[in-house]
Symmetry: D2
Amino acid sequence: MGKIQFQCDYNEGCAPQIMQRLVETNLEQNIGYGEDPHCEHARELIRKVCQVPEADVHFLVGGTQANATIISSILRPYQGVIASTTGHIAVHETGAIEHSGHKVLTLPATNGKITAEQIEKCLFDHYHEDGPEHAVQPAMVYISYPTEYGTLYTKQELTDIHKVCREYQIPLFVDGARLGYGLASKESDITLPELSKLADVFYLGGTKQGALFGEAVVITNSALKRDFRYFIKQGGGMLAKGRLLGIQYEELMQNDLYLTLARHANKQADRIREALLKKGYKMAVPSPTNQQFFVLPNDHLKKLEEKYVLGIWGVADANHTIVRFCTSWATKEENIDKLIKDIQELQEVKQ
Amino acid sequence: MGKIQFQCDYNEGCAPQIMQRLVETNLEQNIGYGEDPHCEHARELIRKVCQVPEADVHFLVGGTQANATIISSILRPYQGVIASTTGHIAVHETGAIEHSGHKVLTLPATNGKITAEQIEKCLFDHYHEDGPEHAVQPAMVYISYPTEYGTLYTKQELTDIHKVCREYQIPLFVDGARLGYGLASKESDITLPELSKLADVFYLGGTKQGALFGEAVVITNSALKRDFRYFIKQGGGMLAKGRLLGIQYEELMQNDLYLTLARHANKQADRIREALLKKGYKMAVPSPTNQQFFVLPNDHLKKLEEKYVLGIWGVADANHTIVRFCTSWATKEENIDKLIKDIQELQEVKQ
Amino acid sequence: MGKIQFQCDYNEGCAPQIMQRLVETNLEQNIGYGEDPHCEHARELIRKVCQVPEADVHFLVGGTQANATIISSILRPYQGVIASTTGHIAVHETGAIEHSGHKVLTLPATNGKITAEQIEKCLFDHYHEDGPEHAVQPAMVYISYPTEYGTLYTKQELTDIHKVCREYQIPLFVDGARLGYGLASKESDITLPELSKLADVFYLGGTKQGALFGEAVVITNSALKRDFRYFIKQGGGMLAKGRLLGIQYEELMQNDLYLTLARHANKQADRIREALLKKGYKMAVPSPTNQQFFVLPNDHLKKLEEKYVLGIWGVADANHTIVRFCTSWATKEENIDKLIKDIQELQEVKQ
Amino acid sequence: MGKIQFQCDYNEGCAPQIMQRLVETNLEQNIGYGEDPHCEHARELIRKVCQVPEADVHFLVGGTQANATIISSILRPYQGVIASTTGHIAVHETGAIEHSGHKVLTLPATNGKITAEQIEKCLFDHYHEDGPEHAVQPAMVYISYPTEYGTLYTKQELTDIHKVCREYQIPLFVDGARLGYGLASKESDITLPELSKLADVFYLGGTKQGALFGEAVVITNSALKRDFRYFIKQGGGMLAKGRLLGIQYEELMQNDLYLTLARHANKQADRIREALLKKGYKMAVPSPTNQQFFVLPNDHLKKLEEKYVLGIWGVADANHTIVRFCTSWATKEENIDKLIKDIQELQEVKQ
């Protein structure tokens, strides 16, 4: 009855397997704050899939919370975090990082990505200034995998960034709110264990990938582990019924559920992309994951919006809009069928 | 098999009615961030039970988050919040209030409560200092209903505190993490609509009262409403799938579920109290709600701990411990039966 | 003996008139924290020269302190300050603004300046976003007069910016660390009373303009006055012997000393500019105040650096450097004579 | 003509020797921000008198600034600083410590002092709590020498506190706003080099001890030295004309000026104390330094206030007030003569 929603990847609840486990365990008695057996088990499963037996794993509720908690646990007060101009922490978190006292030092993004060269220049320049203490000290790197535009860093690009970070002895943090969609992409050339070696800290996003909510923070660099639970509590992120996070990640990390759900989303996104390209629309960004960004004539957009809720990403020009089509683990194939049919029926594009 | 847990009121998941609704609505598509119809409906229900048609209602995930978000939305940087020395924000939130830049100005508590007189003296003294700007300006009052020790302010006490706040033009904030247990207590002499008139902002706790998680913030003072959603987002408290909070509060606020669950808990707590008093143990604090604090000889405590998990609240003396017995909406009557039997069988107390 | 210094405008102590008054008043007994008669008198003088009888005037020690104190007194936690990418608060204050929790929202600068159009677009875009609460709310404008590159806004430009601020009901803050050099410039078309009407808050810089230290903050918008002394104290800016600031500003604000000192500096800067232009060097920025930015061949720079300390402002290209020549109230004419002679003797420029 | 002021120790400007040097050096050209030869020389002199050749020395403008800068350079966000309830950071800095995100964990003071036992209990209790991450972690100790009540820790007391700090691996910070008055006291049993060994960081106060302003921070623990200049700059404490601090400390640290000035003040304070005791007034606190706290009948106080400005420290009872008499390096002997005469002539005390 209502419109079909493709504007984001958190329109539904959670994967049925997860809901079932929540029902089954509902009246169990568990200790609070993430110290229950479900959380313990989920941590063990995550360490295993990452192949980092000594990693610390913590469960948080959402992405902004995870980003702010991790970043403020790492930086000293006069330090800032390097990020792309399109990084989530730079634009869509209401200044949560600044609220914790830190500047986001932005570098111009290309398709959502920044390069090792840019990062190195930023660091080099800071330390070669006359009086570096008059500027914020860049002290960690934040990137998203996939990026906010659905694009992917290659293994080589990540390795190069990792090397610059090592050289300057600063940590690399990978925002993995959509990590599964990235790893499950046909264009990804990196595995979770490989990424776990390159990042000092990252998270396996749950909210957008089959859970009701939840982000599993994995700290592989032992220098960053100290007292992390204090940060969680202080930041308001320590869920009383932590079990809820443990139970969800127990399910996601078993039977390859996490990547299976992601593959489904990517596949549906591929179908949308193909339909749009076939029709002659221009990609705004070449994304191989569950988010597709296309430039649409405003009248075509209007037509589609009669039946679908889409993400409006910006103005391309007076007559065109950048539109996000977003699929998820929950996207129904028949809804994609309908969307494709409606795309095909749009009046011929003249750009 | 495992021990029966009475150490806190968040050992289980959620009330079965709530779980059922979460299952039923799981594959609905909803807009995110609390702007969906479930949240809207739940807000309407809350405004109705509070009898404040113009109140703003926001849903947050947990108590520390709610406290920090509310307090930092009210205070200017040089201002502090008045609280009792035993207030949750003063002792059990890892300095979340200080993290947002504000001092918690503590006043000595009696059974967890502070008085209008104490508050007035604090305010009067500040403004009559020579050079008040050298000290933190007290600018709001935080109390908990019920308190962290399960005790209740009377309607008169709340009215008196409200009056002092009006006189000094500062808001009164009531932490309602366990509000239901308070309102449902046989000793409570105040109703939710009455409390809604006395407080400028408060919350209807969900986490400890039948929900999986959630706190419903009610802002009745319109001066405090501005841009509250920015605060929620910045503080990492804006749940992507806000629907989860809406759905839970829709259930809690219908069919008197919120208070029905609370009455059950209080009744079981009454049974524990009677058993302990009958046995001759001393109350540490006279609580008429779901938390009971008693002074137990260490050997008796040890005996009980063979079968039960209890809350250890502090050392009374070399041989005695202050113990918290906590019931909840989920407490099973047969477990209370067992506990009472085991209390009766404890070796005679010699204090 | 040592090199002559032109790298900044705070190489010397203070104007002799000021030093003399400090000596004369040294053993007077005065009440602390800026409540003494000297401060009171200086405030009165400032209100008079600004022609704002009801202005609040506060004395702070330095510029970073003044900027951070003023900005954090105005913004609510989720709000940010609009500034140019080259604004002092954006680049040279080690993140002092972020440390107080606020994002600096930068707009691309042209010769150090931003326009009313840019500011309006920033504000318009924010409020027309879908879900503005996911981004930092722009809530005040920061500009410098003169800018960090010595350039000046025209009266019209300031009036336009003022209008946008009024339209969106946000304050305009003018950093006047070098205000005198701006007002005393032959190219300035605005007076102090006019500027006082356009800005909601600004400061008359002392440190760089004849005082040992000190910045006189003038708050003309009464909505911004409340409890400002608390902010000063909390920020560590309340000088115990506040008299020192009062005494210095008493002198600066009498007998036109403030502008007289500035005119001297500008005149010497004019002489440097003419010499450099005559020699064929390219201005990096067209500045009509005491700072001159020129592009010099590296070998010429090296030659000059044998006798002079100059400000290195950046790399122009592989063979050229952007150099700052800075004069002040204390610059000796004979030192400018020497510098001009040495410039003239530099080997012919081939660019 | 005006009243003679004994209400604090910052009523006058600076010691004549210092003023003379400021005059002599006024037109010297110096590099800014504390990197000039005067600062370098002053640092060297301080390292020498402290007998810590490898200490880092930084100059700040005032005490609140010094405290906030030092404390925020040491603590991680979830950590707090242990202090006495009467500690300056706990009561008279408008929450500057909380503003930087940290809780001041207060312990009850006895005559302004706290004990090693109290500190150990605080630390022990924190780490033996169930779930220490729910509370602020105590992570450094702040004491003042002399205390805010003029009292002195003995060498043994300081050694004991030092030991507890070592045991828990947290630093000891000594606020030395009046350090000279403490070290110069006849009752002090500790030398500056000894104190430099026991404290991890402390400062030699200038503002109250002969300088116009200034606090010399000495960091002896090398773990605390990293990037301290960033903190100074971010906190608004990096004086542009840093030379002013260097010049003042060059004088203070030569010819035993620092302690000579302090001895004078203490001697005048001794005279006041003797006169008051002889007259039968009760000491509020037994202070052997330049601050004397006495309980005076209100009518006697009123009589004295006709000629003198005194510090009002609090209400003793309905008819008595706690009064602070404060001397300084600048106190004139003849003014003490007058005060003593007036004390003697007060109508006989009946307490």
